[in-house]
Point group: C3
Chain length 138, copies 3
């Protein structure tokens, strides 16, 4: 794992086998990022869960996948929820046959590599209500 | 709807039921953004139209969808066209079965939430020719 | 081809028929970008190759496509490899039927237009090992 900050931007690289969300949390902790945005992430994932939020079914419908996929895009934000940095992340992925899938990222393991960038806010405060999950931009 | 600016970045959050493009226009108007880039957007959409530009058919081929989809990525830019801020937006989306679709965004309604970020330019001028649709970077 | 820099951001627009990677290299060269990140890119591509990295098959499995597709997202980074700027790029694309595909971008021609943005680092050094392909964030 390596990462470095320039201005309000932090570039990071995670190795094969790392937990994606735990690694992002570690970068956020090291740079004291409590509010921010994930601007980009590419590489590959394996052993991941992606979700679709269904009102009819009253929650997230998660599908788990084991096989490696190319990470086409990683987007999201970091907000404070119960005073802890919380990552809201969406991914677009491609299978070996090149077809794309995606959703809300629940969990994932880095396959080969993950290379990305996040922005740290100093003035903007992002908070997320633990009950309603609503993001406030303050 | 809430949004806030730090440096040249504006973070925004739109509520369920809002028109995506009208909401983006409002953020741009409030912060006097005439040239900019949409760096990220996640959440969900419903009642949207996505297009493919076909030279053979001489224009955009638009498909309309009613069902909710996860918004995997939102990319694009803000330029002046006929002296009005114009949004050129592309989206990647995921259906309930996790399969991804996408295209040029014609219109969409926010489903649950939309959380994103745009950058405002002060020096760069982006203009779009109303006839040719060509973007100039000045 | 047109591009312009404001702060550490460079906005670019490539015309129909241009080679995507060669055009990005030219922007990087003009602005002396040796380390950076591609934050966004939209437009259309044709005559492109996208790859999936397979450990089992010991390398990239590339599929070539001739038909035009919408470019939904362009993400990646610029690092020094053998002292030359190297672009690691992933794309999400949509076909005329709106279904999405994607992967590691090997080569592509701009169809109609490509509009994007990259960030130039002044302090962060990104280098890529020519043998292992591993990115170092220094």
């Amino acid at each position: 794992m390596s990462f470095r900050k320039e201005g309000n931007l932090v570039v990071f690289r995670f190795e094969d086998g790392k937990d994606v969300i735990e690694s992002l949390k570690r970068v956020a902790k090291e740079h004291q990022i409590r509010s921010g945005v994930i601007l980009s992430g590419i590489g590959m994932l394996r052993d991941f869960g992606i979700s679709f939020y269904s009102r009819e079914k009253g929650g997230y419908i998660t599908h788990k996948f084991n096989e490696p996929v190319e990470l086409l895009s990683l987007s999201g934000n970091i907000s404070l929820r119960n005073n802890e940095p919380f990552f809201h992340l969406h991914v677009a992925l491609a299978k070996e046959d090149k077809s794309a899938i995606g959703g809300h990222l629940k969990k994932a393991t880095v396959h080969n590599t993950l290379e990305g960038i996040m922005v740290k806010f100093s003035e903007i405060k992002l908070t997320r209500d633990p009950e309603t999950r609503i993001l406030s931009v303050l």
